[in-house]
Symmetry: C2
Subunit: 659 residues, 2 copies
């Protein structure tokens, strides 16, 4: 921000003027007055704040008791969790446990409900206790976020999760045994009929074995369409299906919308079909996979594919209905158009009529025209075919044009004024350009190595503009040292035109303390309608229904039935009833625990020391534990959440008499 009136001078002048001193632009800056307001200029001086800093501070500060305007939901990368952030304050409101068990939330620490969710994500019968989450996606209605659900993927152990935004709880994890790696997930169709998950590193489909030397013949990719039932809040695996893809590395995907509804688009890299083998004398994959100038955008007519599935034109692999590559070619539901160079981001414009692709070794944003692509595909006008018979369109016939925006363009978001914002990795900048006029506007630097970026509702049919977050991979010198493993840096940028001269203005640097966010989505705050408490008491958060073992106040008891000791327990400030539980070593225990609280924020926690069990008991919540009392001894049980003045006294004993 540069202009002729120094803000510091102005403030100093104003304070002097208003408080009885000499007025005018020449008065000295930073003269502290007698009272609080008079301290502003001196604060600027004392804290070394520039004029731009002052406006940035005032644009991001959310006073006590006031609320942020937007939520941003960011993936937690290899932390395996989902990160909820308030905008513009950039305060983190919650880490939601998704693929990784998390004890504060009592997620995966012994209660049967959350364990069942995590068990849904087993691969090969093996527990997966973390995930590499990349791309969360809100549920949509008519191409707009509806605030009901958010989906997330696991690149490392291919899985898709459903998080319910009524209580910010993960309610389902679905494993995808068809594929061994993924990346282009999650993306939803405009009414959330499907959650799309696309493979990345090819492998034999259905978890079978073939040597890597059989790569071209036996390794494959796939795009999975997970059927979502909004009324149930669940993915329905038996109604999900997939399309087999060639052994390229499929990358990011997006669903068509409005005019392109019914289509899905997906980048690919490594159409060279390299697979490394450095010790074997091959070039590293990074070289072998970047020889071609062009890779292929995959264009998929998913509505036609869905009809094929309904017509039974599928084979079943690892329990999933799969449209074979041959069928996909024969039925013309899959086609290619070339993409320059090492494409990474693929983003459909708000009107659904164009697709923007960034090639990470390129300098352009390439804007494809859906109408042109559809016409060519409908007419089967292909310039050539790939080794698997897939038709390849002529690049020039599919684009509107290209805009020179900088070296290493990746991902694109949109505002409400026809502008696109593209992250430029190698230059570590955001480029603002007009996607209708194909015209470059301006760039802003980011710190450092920007990956994805997210604008307010910036990938919907009706973006909001206003705020943009640059999701930077490196932080370097931005924050206090925390050892060799640094946070990422989210930078909030004003794109509302309130920066000097309508330019983008950097507002805030926000360190990410846990996990590596890849992508994020930003939603208007009033779209999310979350519960304050579970009501009536006894709700299972996974089903959102009263649990069959709900315990009424006054009916607490311990019963032995069919060899199992059932403990029917309640929690209310400030005691558990029963508070003394006696069993014999080796006994099977089923502990049913209901919070009788209905006051907002009156949360309890529950543990039995050294038994490695923990539950968070939000008001009205019910949990069930099932375990064997294998260790004899005296084990305190207590409330782990500071709930009241007599919280420390909310305790008892689990007594296990030795055999």
């Amino acid at each position: 921000m540069r202009h002729s009136c120094s803000l510091a001078a102005l403030l100093g002048a104003a304070l002097l003027a208003a408080c009885g001193g000499p007025a005018g632009p020449t008065a000295p800056a930073g003269n502290p007055g007698a009272s609080g307001g008079a301290g502003v200029a001196s604060l600027m001086k004392a804290r070394g704040l520039s004029e731009a800093d002052v406006t940035a501070a005032l644009k991001t500060y959310v006073p006590s008791g006031k609320k942020d305007e937007y939520y941003t939901f960011a993936s937690g990368g290899h932390g395996g969790n989902l990160i909820v952030i308030g905008v513009p304050s950039m305060r983190i409101l919650k880490y939601i446990g998704v693929f990784t068990p998390e004890p504060w939330q009592g997620y995966g620490y012994g209660d049967t409900s959350s364990q069942e969710v995590l068990d849904g994500g087993k691969r090969n019968g093996k527990d997966m206790t973390w995930g590499d989450m990349h791309h969360p996606a809100f549920s949509e209605t008519n191409g707009s976020y509806d605030g009901q659900f958010i989906f997330a993927n696991d690149k490392a152990n291919p899985r898709v999760a459903v998080v319910d935004l009524k209580d910010f709880v993960t309610t389902q994890i679905v494993a995808s045994p068809l594929i061994q790696s993924e990346h282009g997930a999650t993306f939803v169709t405009p009414n959330t009929d499907y959650v799309i998950e696309t493979s990345q590193y090819p492998a034999p489909l259905g978890d079978t074995y073939a040597d890597v030397t059989e790569f071209n013949d036996k390794y494959r990719g796939a795009m999975i369409f997970h059927k979502f039932d909004r009324s149930k809040g669940r993915i329905i695996p038996e109604e999900s299906w997939a399309i087999e893809l060639p052994p390229y590395m499929q990358d990011l995907a997006d669903a068509g919308k409005l005019v392109s509804d019914g289509y899905a688009f997906c980048n690919s890299i490594n159409t060279e079909r390299a697979w490394g083998g450095i010790l074997e004398g091959n070039p590293p994959l990074e070289s072998g996979s970047t020889k071609n100038d062009m890779d292929y955008m995959h264009i998929i007519n998913w509505k036609a594919a869905e009809a094929l599935v309904k017509a039974g034109k599928t084979t079943t692999i690892a329990g999933m209905k799969v449209i074979s590559l041959k069928t996909a070619v024969d039925e013309n539901i899959l086609a290619f158009t070339p993409e320059p160079k090492s494409p990474h981001g693929l983003d459909v414009t708000p009107d659904g009529a164009a697709m923007v692709v960034g090639g990470k070794l390129d300098t352009h944003a390439t804007v494809y025209d859906f109408a042109k692509i559809k016409a060519l595909m409908d007419a089967k006008t292909y310039e050539s075919r790939d080794p698997y018979g897939i038709g390849i369109m002529k690049f020039e016939d599919t684009i509107r044009g290209q805009v020179e925006i900088g070296l290493g363009p990746l991902h694109t978001q949109f505002d409400d004024k026809g502008n696109a914002y593209t992250s430029i990795f190698i230059e570590t900048k955001v480029a603002k350009w007009n996607w209708k006029e194909l015209k470059m506007i301006e760039k802003i630097s980011t710190n450092y190595n920007i990956g994805h970026l997210v604008a307010a509702e910036g990938d919907t049919v009706d973006p909001d503009g206003k705020y943009l977050i640059a999701m930077n991979k490196w932080a370097l010198d931005r924050f206090l040292p925390v050892g060799p493993l640094l946070p990422q840096n989210f930078q909030l940028i004003d794109i509302g035109g309130e920066g000097a001269g309508g330019k983008m203005q950097l507002l805030y640097d926000m360190p990410l303390p846990l996990g590596e966010p890849h992508n994020a989505q930003m939603i208007k705050a009033d779209k999310i309608k979350a519960f304050e408490v579970y009501s009536p008491v006894g709700i299972d958060p996974i089903t959102k229904k009263p649990d069959p073992f709900t315990v009424e106040g006054g009916k607490e008891r311990i019963e032995k039935k069919d060899g199992v000791t059932h403990v029917y327990m309640t929690a209310i400030r400030s005691h558990f009833t029963p508070d003394i539980v006696k069993v014999k070593q080796g006994d099977k225990v089923a502990l049913h625990l209901t919070s009788l609280e209905q006051a907002h924020d009156a949360t309890h926690g529950f543990t039995i020391d050294s038994y490695n069990l923990h539950a968070s008991l939000e008001p009205g919540k019910h949990v069930n534990f099932e375990f064997v009392a294998d260790k004899p001894g005296v084990f305190p049980l207590y409330c782990t959440e500071f709930c009241s003045a007599l919280h420390l006294e909310m305790a008892g004993y689990f007594l296990v008499e030795p055999k």
Copy 2:
């Protein structure tokens, strides 16, 4: 903040004046000028900011590239992690995995080094995969934080952890099988000779069994003195020892310093020895344990106790040398003085000469005089003895006085001007009072239900003043809704006298997105000297030494030896070598992986898909995995941390041929 000059008016006036308009205090507020600076008044209006908000925003905003002044390290409660926060920006810089495995850091996800740390925390041979961390403590030199280490406790599964501040990595967890529950931990002696851990809910010592009806006779507490060797950076269990305590609920503890060096102090509650039994017709523990007007401060002469240990006057229980209650009484190393009512916080003043106690059902801060206590203890002047023979001093003879500060006082911190700051739970306020003059000064409201509070170096011999954080248990209406489980709320308060009229000023509300912080410590930023990278390459972060299996660039290889397939692998942008690893189903695999990077922030990650392994590879770090290739198939391996433009291509395959 209230004063006669409206800041909004001042700003409007100043901008008009400086830019050529009419000047003076009567000019209209909020008139936006043509350029950026001119937008300040309109920003205040548009965002609804008060004058106090503006100064708060400017006091807390840290511009991009500038650093915070302090670190705050807060416990993560039942999240089991440690939270690192920058002050005054209140941005979270890092979550450090301590008791809970954390995949982003590669902590407990298959590498042998971090697994060994976690294994140190097993109880009864059982993995404990979470913890309930309450009270972190920095290492101290002469009673001042030295920035070298931080210690943390697990209330649920009694354990103490050591975190090395050279790399913010947990390097040791020590289980305490003597006790079954703890709370008064961790507290260090002034030169970090010992890390103190005090039991909370009594149980038979050494993990033995006795029915709760034998509570008075067989249940006990203990204070453990974990010997710390600073040069090794490790607790030395064989040099640690404990003192047996009566079956009260010992609560918070603190070590003496300066004049009181050599003594330790500990609160207790439930001297009634209630143990609940609601279904058995007893009163709930919350009632049974709060009948007495006074409980007992435990005064322990630990230097004399240490001499007893050296003289062999101990018995060994669960591998630990324990001074029995009888010996403690006989040797006069333990004495009591009464404390009103349901005491919770106990904090030694900076000069070491007084102890401040807050009783959570009381209205006073009670200030004890160490010199009086020592004189009475030396002379064995006890008014009475408890059922276990421990001498009880006369309350009135041990105090300097009491200050009426409000209902439900808990914890106290200190500034550099003789002021004490005490959290008042039931009133949900901070009381500022002078601990030398025993005079109440002022209170400030917090939102809501304050527990602990932390001032800059506020429990050392030389507090800094300046900043105070109120650690509030409930958030209620402070932030955007995130479902029934809400964040806690840290409120930053200016105690530097820069608030209006030198009063405390609320600066910032900060939500805690994961975990429930109990206590925290705030350290001046320049005291922490963290590594930027591990150097030379091949360092094991736990030992901080080159790993015996370090892999040199160019010497990557796969070797079968003694039935184990050893994979010697390196990582550098942007490939792993080898990138293809072939084994047979059932093979034992030892994977040795060195990052050859030495550039700051050039971190890689490593996983083999569906094998539930993950490492974070900071520059120069080495990790070892040992596992059985039990699942046949084709498993991509890849870099999980976005490291370069060709990060996605940093991949290979782990091929497991079926038997």
